[in-house]
Amino acid sequence: MNAGRAQGARKSTKVSIALPTGALMPGALRLLAKSGLARLSADELGRQLLVDRSSVRVILVRPADVPAYVDHGAADLGIVGKDILWETPGAHYELVDLKFGGCKLVLAVPVASRLNGPETWPPQLRVATKYPRTAEAWFEARGQAVEVVQLRGSVELAPQVGLVDAIVDLTATGRTLKENRLRIVATLGASTARLIANQASLKTRTDAVQAAVGRLRKAVTG
């Protein structure tokens, strides 16, 4: 008996996808529609959080929770920003660059700050961020001692009130930084939306999951 094939019809043919709320949601919905997997409005999904269609089940969760849903098998696939994956590495497969939701993770300082390239950094740099893991790894690779202050929001405020010397934050257009009189001194990485998959789903329900991956991949390039 093959466990993968012997399952009930719902589980073996239906693929569940975790979608993030927030900035990536419109792009994710457009991609789902273009791939032909599901045509959903943001309103409908926002109201129900869980929508079942004939071939897919779509689950709406907070962006930072997408890897958890996928890693634990509650969703076969997930759409999530690379920035989230930097912070929560897991056992999932990162399969496709979905090419939307582009943004950069940057190191920014107040316009008036004397900080610039690495040669101007103090022996111990104080940095506020929502991305402590990524920031620490980046500074460590450059041999820079750093004190990371983890904040949940409004990171751009921290240097203005003297909490830190610099921030590491995500920016798409650079407008928020400019409005808060911050300038970019380095780029830590570039992020776009990614398609991730649960490791067991790829093995136990190979056909259905690979088919959905193929359609999404085609919707990106086609």
Partner: protein, 415 residues
């Protein structure tokens, strides 16, 4: 503390039962049980496990200042044992073990920092017959524990190594490719491979890694693409193992997975993972690690696996028909001069393999009924004198009968 928790009777009994059935199956295959300590010196563990696993060890210093760790797996301690105290025991050697292992993971969501594993190691046996033996044993262990639906994916570390030898890439790109694969990051892998001018069949195989899975036909398909001896030999071994597993009676549950991503620095040959239908992670995993014993001074081939008992429990409790919870067969109450016959009756029932609880205080028949309900037993026996016994089965009226007939009636399933 996140990641640690108590196991209450309903869970603990199923978990323990699963562990016992897995160990019993291993013993039926001639594996001898060993018990290694909960702690090991970090010098021992570091010989066998990678940097990432080392980081996840609970470490502390003992009174003499030596750094010791709570074990995160038991293959390395068993290797230490085989190369140490069992140095003069002849090979091949078959050993099995069970117990909790610890890791410093966050303990978020379902993540556990203390998990239960049972494992088996076959040391000193090279060749596909040994590979097939441990895979078959792993499958039979899952069945023995009560898992009915599972599949086993078999892969080969050398298939990957051969590809990496043959693929035309600068060394630093190869390292990056290894890193991307280990992180299962195919977006990074794709951009690494796209940036290089040379294209080869190996190139294509790497990009299609997660999809290189199927039946024996996948071996022919891959065989048409690889042109290096390491990968070709791996494919030949996979074909042999697949055939042997059919002989073991497991042809139906086995798939071949050439794109299995495992710890390629540790595994040297056939690897495998077992999956259940509704579980996001492998319930058992293992493979050949011919390099480990050498580091302990007794070079020998070896292969083995672990079963994740917590995941077995999840599969059993989530199954359409969960395992019957062990129930208490009889609550034996007494009043007046009934204590002595009650104690004798308890002994007799246990002799028949039944679970019996004898009350510790006297109760009349009405009080005994409410005590019976709180015990949750199937039958209530009440002894009020040497010769007067009443028996109530759940949902039935009370009957009087001679004490010597009670055990027979209960064991006969009349209840």
């Amino acid at each position: 503390m996140p990641g640690f928790r108590d196991r209450l009777p309903d869970e603990a009994e199923v978990l323990r039962e699963a562990q016992e059935s897995v160990l019993a199956e291993m013993r039926r295959w001639g594996y001898r049980h060993v018990i290694t300590p909960m702690v090991e010196g970090t010098d021992v563990l570091e010989l066998g496990i990678g940097a990432e696993q080392r980081r996840r060890l609970f470490k502390f210093a003992d009174a003499r200042g030596e750094v010791i760790a709570l074990v995160g797996e038991r293959t390395v301690p068993v290797a230490r044992l085989v190369a140490g105290k069992l140095r003069s025991a002849p090979l091949p050697m078959r050993l099995c073990y069970a117990g909790p292992v610890l890791s410093t993971d966050d303990g978020r969501l379902h993540q556990r920092r203390e998990t239960y594993q049972a494992g088996a190691e076959l040391v000193g046996a090279p060749g596909t017959a040994a590979d097939a033996e441990v895979i078959a044993l792993a499958a039979r262990c899952l069945e023995a524990s009560g898992v009915k639906r599972y599949q086993v994916d078999v892969g080969h570390a050398e298939f990957f190594h051969g590809i990496m030898d043959a693929v035309k890439l600068p060394d630093e790109v190869k390292d990056a490719v290894r890193g991307a694969l280990a992180a299962r990051d195919f977006v990074a892998l794709e951009s690494l491979l796209e940036g290089t001018p040379l294209r080869s069949a190996e190139h294509e195989l790497l990009l299609r890694f997660p999809a290189l899975r199927g039946g024996v036909e996948i071996l022919q398909a891959a065989g048409g693409l690889v042109r290096n001896r390491r990968s070709e030999r791996a494919l030949a071994e996979l074909a042999e193992v697949q055939e042997l597993l059919v002989a073991h009676g497991l042809g139906e549950v086995v798939s071949l997975d050439l794109g299995a991503i495992r710890d390629f620095d540790y595994y040297t040959g056939i690897t495998f993972e077992a999956y259940g239908p509704e579980l996001g992670r492998p319930v058992a995993q293992g493979g050949r690690y011919d390099g480990l014993l050498e580091r302990f001074g007794r070079p020998s081939p070896a292969t083995g696996f672990v079963v994740q008992l917590d995941l077995v429990y999840e599969m059993l409790s989530g199954a359409a028909r969960p395992p019957a919870l062990p129930r208490i067969d009889a609550a034996v109450a007494w009043s007046g001069s009934g204590l002595r016959p009650a104690l004798r009756l308890g002994s007799t029932l246990r002799l028949f393999g039944m679970r019996a609880v004898v009350d510790t205080q006297a109760r009349n028949e009405a009080e005994a009924k409410s005590w019976w309900r709180s015990v949750g037993a199937v039958n209530l026996i009440h002894c009020s004198s040497e010769s007067t016994v009443s028996w109530t089965a759940r949902g039935q009226r009370t009957r009087r009968l001679p004490p010597e007939q009670v055990a027979g009636r209960l064991a006969g399933g009349v209840a």
